[in-house]
């Protein structure tokens, strides 16, 4: 038994070494609209990639804040007409949440180091509206396969900005991997917020009728330079990374704007 422990100790130390040697993280952000038509409802597609220099596993992400122009009509998107509580998610999972509480979906790619090896793991993410008085609160339900098969639930919030920006603030919990190994690090995130892939239901004359929510409304006029997004990533090691991107207006939309003027 003692001998086995002696053998295990270097192995665990070996498992820890690559990931503990964290280098500075950097992040890239990509956002697109589908469809990208001014004055129409859309689905916002957000992707982020986190890397660490030297090929190391990045420090685990603890908070993500994505800022977007306040003239995007998140509040009038018709999304999240119902809510789903964290308790329902924990006990039954997202399939027991009302269809009208779904606001989007996505996936995440996480890495964990195991000795010299880096193991990758993907998780499907459901984004749901959470009950919160007067505010748009979100719940993220991430369900992965092995080796971390336990679903992870974490929260987010739409925060009104001080000027012309609003933001989505997401608190990402630390996810333990293997005993004595560092926590799992998210290296890629992809999320859609909008009607793409969602079906809502409403009662009309006593019948349940399916419909697609209208989506996040783009303004009729193209902002100068396009729609600016930025993201701030906070990591477990205390470091931060910043990323910016711009969604250009569709040429058809720009043309129509000029005609209106």
């Amino acid at each position: 038994m003692r001998r086995a422990r002696h053998l295990l100790a270097p192995l665990l130390a070996c498992a820890c070494l690559p990931a503990t040697a964290h280098a500075a993280q950097s992040a890239k952000l990509h956002v697109s609209f589908s469809p990208n038509r001014l004055g129409h409802g859309t689905t916002v597609d957000i992707s982020a990639k986190i890397t660490a220099s030297g090929g190391y596993v990045p420090s685990p992400l603890t908070q993500l804040q994505v800022s977007y122009p306040s003239d995007l009509g998140f509040d009038i998107s018709g999304l999240g007409l119902a809510t789903c509580s964290q308790a329902i998610l924990e006990i039954f999972g997202p399939l027991h949440c009302p269809a009208d509480s779904y606001m989007g979906q996505g996936n995440a790619l996480a890495e964990l180091s195991f000795g010299p090896e880096i193991i990758q793991e993907t998780a499907e993410v459901a984004i749901l509206r959470a009950p919160q008085e007067g505010q748009v609160a979100l719940l993220f339900y991430a369900n992965a396969g092995t080796p971390v098969s336990e679903p992870i639930i974490f929260s987010g919030m739409l925060i009104p900005g001080p000027a012309h920006d609003e933001s989505i603030e997401i608190n990402v919990p630390l996810v333990p991997s293997l005993p004595a190994a560092p926590d799992i690090a998210i290296v890629q995130l992809h999320a859609t917020l909008g009607p793409h892939g969602l079906t809502y239901y409403e009662h009309i004359h006593g019948k349940l009728v399916a419909y697609k929510p209208k989506g996040i409304l783009l303004p009729r006029r193209c902002p100068p330079g396009g729609f600016a997004f930025s993201a701030t990533f906070a990591f477990q090691d205390g470091s931060h990374a910043l990323a910016h991107t711009v969604v250009p207006c569709h040429p058809e939309g720009k043309h129509r704007r000029n005609r209106n003027i």
């Binding site: 003239d71 009038i76 009950p131 008085e133 303004p219």
Partner: protein
């Protein structure tokens, strides 16, 4: 004969009124306004040029621009006529709107805090009259602002209650 409306009494009845609005919104907003105010005088103008009472606007979406909604619809009760409004939703609802009556119009700004997180969001705040035309050219005052916003249809029922001078 006209009967002055009691503002205090209105306040006490308001939560029930808002609940009623939310329920009836799903069936017929127009029907609601007609029934609620059919037995009451439309306008109560006193000798001191004060306007006392409650006006209810049933607004539907005309167009949306980003997070701003442009709405219009009929107004019943005090200041019967029609209204148009530019409404911005969010953590705080803000609106600028004009009520048109046969005697003139009243323009003002409103600010309200939303409650709830489902399809129907009630809100409460205040309405500030800033300008007017016709009989209400010199209107001023602040009134209570209440209502229900339907996030599915973007229609809104807005109720103002209080005293304005003109």
């Amino acid at each position: 004969m006209t009967r002055p409306l009691q503002i205090g009494a209105r306040h006490h009845r308001l939560p029930r009124a808002i609940a009623t609005l939310a329920i009836l919104l799903t069936t017929s907003a127009v029907l609601m306004s007609t029934e609620s105010f059919a037995a009451e005088p439309d306008v109560t103008a006193r000798a001191a040029h004060t306007l006392n009472g409650t006006a209810t606007a049933n607004l539907h979406l005309v167009k949306a621009e980003g997070s701003q909604l442009f709405e219009e619809g009929p107004v019943s009760g005090t200041l019967a006529g029609s209204a148009s409004a530019a409404l911005t939703t969010g953590a705080v609802f803000t609106a600028s709107f004009t009520i048109h009556t046969h005697s003139g119009s009243i323009t003002g700004h409103g600010r309200a805090t939303p409650h709830g997180s489902g399809r129907y969001q009630s809100f409460s705040g205040s309405f500030l009259a800033t300008s007017g035309s016709g009989r209400y050219a010199h209107v001023s005052g602040r009134a209570g602002l209440y209502g229900v916003f339907d996030r599915r249809t973007d229609s809104v029922v807005i109720q103002t209650t209080g005293t304005l001078t003109y």
